[in-house]
């Protein structure tokens, strides 16, 4: 091919005004999240579950059992919130494994070939949605539960009491942490069933089962398991836990760095 033949047709200039940006990726992930029916269904389940179970339990606590201070009050109120972290985690996993199982990841990563932006924008958007939703849920559930518990010994817990506000935000922090962990697991395993199985089995159940084992070192290690480290941040009286408040946050950070580090390296290295 000669240079003359090469210039036979005018060169085409593509539009210049568009750029791939991280903000763009955030908006894209936002669009993707809300354009799936499963998002609405699962989040609705999470809301109904956390509010409903909190109300149900608070309403049915017999007076003689309603003792033990603020932590007892919160554990009744937040029973549903804790359990609905499973919904949130499953949804987090699906936001990424759904892309792999359907093949839409090819479109996504053709538009954003540096890849890491996809992972972090997914995590950021989902984390923010969960944070906002569960802040609302945690406080709504708290006030509802207190109303139902009024007249009992643990009915007079107020936001102003020491540690209560912090513990309530602790619940939000815990759920957001678990949601982010779930996304990283999904990014690492890329398979819906495998990731959900791993989350339920290894993150949720294994640490509980492990405490049944006879070896002492196991019970020393169990508080540091990824599913257990946020426990301290969601209690009013933090003196009981193995991990202190600061340690709890630190370990949540460590596990997220480990999970996202691994997810990021694999995302960069593997073929899509």
């Amino acid at each position: 091919m000669t240079a003359a033949a090469m210039t036979e047709r005018p060169a085409y200039a593509p539009p210049q005004q568009y750029r791939l940006t991280f903000v763009g990726e955030l908006r894209s992930e936002w669009t993707k999240l809300w354009s799936l029916r499963s998002t609405w269904i699962v989040l609705l389940c999470a809301v109904v579950f956390s509010g409903g179970l909190g109300a149900l339990i608070s309403a049915s606590v017999p007076d003689e059992a309603a003792v033990g201070g603020a932590d007892a009050a919160l554990s009744f109120a937040m029973a549903g919130v804790s359990l609905s972290s499973v919904f949130v985690a499953v949804l987090g996993i699906l936001t990424i494994t759904g892309e792999y199982t359907t093949g839409s990841i090819r479109s996504t990563l053709s538009a954003a070939p540096k890849r890491l932006g996809m992972l972090f924008s997914k995590a950021l958007v989902f984390g923010a949605v969960v944070a906002v939703l569960f802040t609302a849920m945690v406080f709504a559930t708290f006030f509802m539960s207190q109303a139902l518990l009024s007249g009992t010994e643990i009915g007079g817990v107020s936001l102003g009491d020491e540690g209560v506000l912090r513990a309530l935000f602790g619940y939000v922090g815990m759920i957001v942490y678990l949601a982010l962990l779930a996304i990283a697991i999904g990014a690492i395993l890329r398979n819906s069933a495998g990731s959900i199985g791993f989350y339920v089995g290894v993150i949720m159940i294994l640490p509980q089962l492990a405490t049944l084992l006879p070896w002492e070192w196991v019970s020393d290690v169990v508080p540091y398991a990824p599913g257990n480290v946020p426990n301290t941040i969601a209690v009013v009286d933090t003196s009981m836990g193995t991990l202190g408040l600061g340690e709890s946050w630190l370990w949540m950070g460590i596990w997220l760095v480990v999970a996202y580090g691994l997810a990021g390296v694999l995302l960069k290295r593997r073929d899509v």
Binding site: M6, R9, Y12, Q16, Y18, R27, K32, G98, S104
Partner: protein, 317 residues
Amino acid sequence: MNDRAAGRSVVGMIEIEHLTKRYGKKTAVDDLTFAVKPGVVTGFLGPNGAGKSTTMRAIVGLDAPTSGLARVNGKHYSEFRSPLTEVGALLEAKSVHAGRSAYKHLLALARTHGIPTKRVHEVIDLVGLHEVAGKRVGGFSLGMGQRLGIAVALLGDPAVLILDEPVNGLDPDGVKWIRLLLKGLASEGRTVFLSSHLMSELAQTAEHLIVIGQGKLLADTTVDDFVSGNGKARVRVVSPDAARLAEHLAGPGITIASPERGVLDVSGTEAAVVGQTAAAHGLVLHELRTDRGSLEDAFMQLTADAVEYRQTMEGAK
């Protein structure tokens, strides 16, 4: 290739250099080198499993080469500041979440680059999906999915289009439409690179051809040259002395195949030469004719040794 020799890259040029891709032990693409130029439609031809899709995935950075390079405009795809306006790709199979609508799928991709919704509507209209844009993609037919894939590829109005079997699943109207569309896009100076395993399909759309088999380059030529070069002059001889005739005909540049006993297909020479050779050695001929051969024959001839999956009942060879 003056421009490449000078180390410059032409706008829209796709360059594949010594590309090798292995999946475990399986070598999908084997030391492939070729370039795709702007302004023409280039067909990418090869039998099933030849490595076409793998090469295309390597160009858009989805699969990392085991060795070698796949570049566009002299850059690796991930270096582009706005990938969607540089390269638009339709990769094989649906690359869409089945639960999302066509519109939202396009919108989500557009948002990464700040492409306005107006453009999303434009491409939806362009590919004729207006009626179903709000429906979940899971219910789309193969052809509708393919149209959506083409809409995605066109979204950024890119300089380079990479389309993996775009005609797959389209009805005759759709096939005609995409042919015109692609020719039109190429005539605007864009690079259009499309794969197919049907020679006849490409012959009507493409000007240039890259043919591969088992991951290796078999031909890099214009369609015209390919047809006249490969589809030309195959001499069919029927003779009771076929074996002896074959011995006498054998020589450099001449290939002889025997599809059945007593029949020879000779290429690289002419009927007259075959007749003379037979006469010179006193061999009897029952039939002597020149087969022009179709494009499909030319392609099959070229890839005969490189076909990955063949039926157990083999055709002529």
